[in-house]
Assembly symmetry: C2
Homo-oligomer: 352 residues x 2
């Protein structure tokens, strides 16, 4: 507390990210990072840019990266926005597009940064309960509102909403922005980017932190029709001219251009997820069907907190949440096969 | 314009940074970059981190970097805030500290991002005219206000305010935050960081983009007493958990630890600035005394716009501003000796 703070600061409840432990030799399954390293081509591109040119400002528009993303997703350059991680892209979207006279809607169980952004930009919001099976039911979004946002697959449930449902939602709310936050879409979902050219109210946000293994580089992006992108650019250019450094621009571009490596990593994670799901179910867990690089699971006889603590004693960290409805669930990031075997062995000891 | 924009977006007038030309072989003296490359130790540190660990999120608190900055400036760890370039640090300072019930004060001729931030955070501000000699006169800041910000040396004038004057200002306004934006302090000024432990209302902001040759990496920081830093952290953690990527954290840390290289670069720039000032004065320019890595100069017989255009024809780019009072001034970044010789030769041809 300080007399020097703005009125706003006193009201904020900041987001608390998952732990980044300083000790090594942990099996880290708590923040949904990719267990596989970045594309060797991305690392080579970063090394190639690590030289005298770092004395110069980067391109404020990050055009070479935007062009790679536009080519990959078959949209125009002016339909792409990039930011310093998808959290920054989300922040700008809240300020530029989601702040309206009527409340923003999002699920009750969802990415816990959404209410924090609402606090930062002094926005009203209302949460819409997921169904008993933790599904988003688009018919529940009928009330008067200014905009809608949800992750797909949802976090921390991993549950996917199909494109047909998203299209119905876009049609039913054509006068308001709908943001689909696709941080985890590459692990088994179908991207709503396919709908961008048909729906002027759709903004899709993705990240290179998960499926592209670049959490350490901080790159996210949004795709939508040009007027939505222009709204984001106006806020970005009133906040920070150069959010992406030179190495992030070129590393992300190279990552986007290494399709083979990307597909191979995603496929390995999907396979491991299926194995983990089977093991968990065999141990008596109930597992929400996941299209993400994590699973969300609960056990009828063991508390989530206790399982997490027991895993931690075995040097494995997973995440759990204190929120109502999900306080008995563990969110477990998909690791390598070796990490997954260690996890399954540990759970076998804990549960039996 | 779009029906989907928030009310705020319609009102914004974004900042326009200096040109980052895509053609090479230009002598680029328009955006105050350092003409010397980053410390070889900084580049080595970046290369050493360019590996598998980029799959993981960076430390959200960037503690190793904060510790280096704290050690260098002899303050505590909780007196250091870091951000994605000093523009991001400034943005957070506007939202967390400078937004008050009464208007913010800053000079009429100053960093042109300040009114943009006021637009973004819907803040009232009033500009205080510099003196005829483009000096900040602290006695002109007596009116009722909520906070004060100015660059020191000022931009784009390069003119320095001494620490005695700053201390008087801090004493006269002990109930409000005073931000001293020291992007250019290392080129001949004395930092107000020396006053931080005595004045609870002082926040000093610096960048690694100028004197540390890392504009391409995007790292800035603020130093103040712990409550001011906590205010910034609360906003940062409500906006983006990980604003600094792993390479920026380690590159910046290494740059901070290479004192010898840093001092040598600053000294070369100061020497070249003195040579350029002499040449400009010999050509009839009036040059504002500069403590920055640029000079601000006007010629009685030639318009700034025309000189800039003539220089551009000779592949040299400098900056000029369309604002009242300074529309006849050129802002010329200090280059290498070779670049400076080319500039002086070109000016000799243009002016004679």
């Amino acid at each position: 507390m300080s007399q020097f703070w703005s009125n706003l600061v006193h009201t904020l409840t900041p987001y608390v990210p998952g732990e980044q432990p300083k000790v090594t030799n942990l099996i880290k399954l708590n923040t949904n990072e990719n267990p596989y390293p970045p594309s060797p081509k991305a690392l080579a591109a970063i090394r190639a840019q690590t030289g005298d040119a770092l004395k110069l400002y980067p391109d404020p528009n990050a055009e070479v990266l935007k062009q790679s993303i536009a080519d990959y997703h078959q949209v125009n350059l002016n339909q792409v926005f990039v930011g310093n991680g998808s959290d920054e892209v989300l922040a700008h979207a809240f300020q530029a597009l989601l702040k309206q006279d009527k409340p923003l809607l999002f699920p009750d169980i969802t990415y816990s940064f959404y209410p924090v952004y609402c606090g930062l930009y002094e926005m009203d919001y209302q949460t819409i309960p997921l169904t008993e099976q933790f599904e988003i039911n688009i018919e529940d979004y009928g009330q008067d509102s200014g905009a809608i946002i949800f992750p797909n697959p949802n976090a921390p449930t991993g549950r996917l909403l199909n494109l047909e449902a998203i299209e119905l939602l876009l049609k039913a709310h054509s006068n308001k922005v709908v943001v689909v936050d696709e941080a985890y879409i590459d692990f088994g979902g179908e991207s709503a980017i396919a709908l961008v050219n048909q729906y002027a109210n759709l903004l899709v946000i993705q990240t290179l932190s998960k499926s592209r293994s670049l959490a350490g580089m901080r790159v996210g992006f949004a795709i939508g029709q040009a007027p939505l992108i222009e709204g984001l650019e106006r806020v970005k250019n009133s906040f920070n001219s150069y959010p992406l450094d030179r190495l992030a621009i070129y590393g992300a571009k190279a990552a986007f251009e290494d399709e083979e490596y990307f597909q191979a990593c995603c496929q390995k994670i999907i396979t491991t997820r299926n194995h983990l799901t089977q093991t968990l179910e065999a141990l008596g867990f109930s597992v929400i069907p996941s299209a993400a690089n994590f699973v969300f699971a609960t056990h009828p006889n063991y508390s989530a907190e206790k399982i997490a603590a027991s895993l931690r004693e075995k040097s494995i960290i997973v995440r759990y949440f204190k929120q109502a409805r999900v306080d008995q669930y563990l969110r477990i990031t998909i690791g390598t096969d070796l990490e997954n075997t260690a996890l399954c062995d540990a759970l076998n000891q804990i549960i039996r």
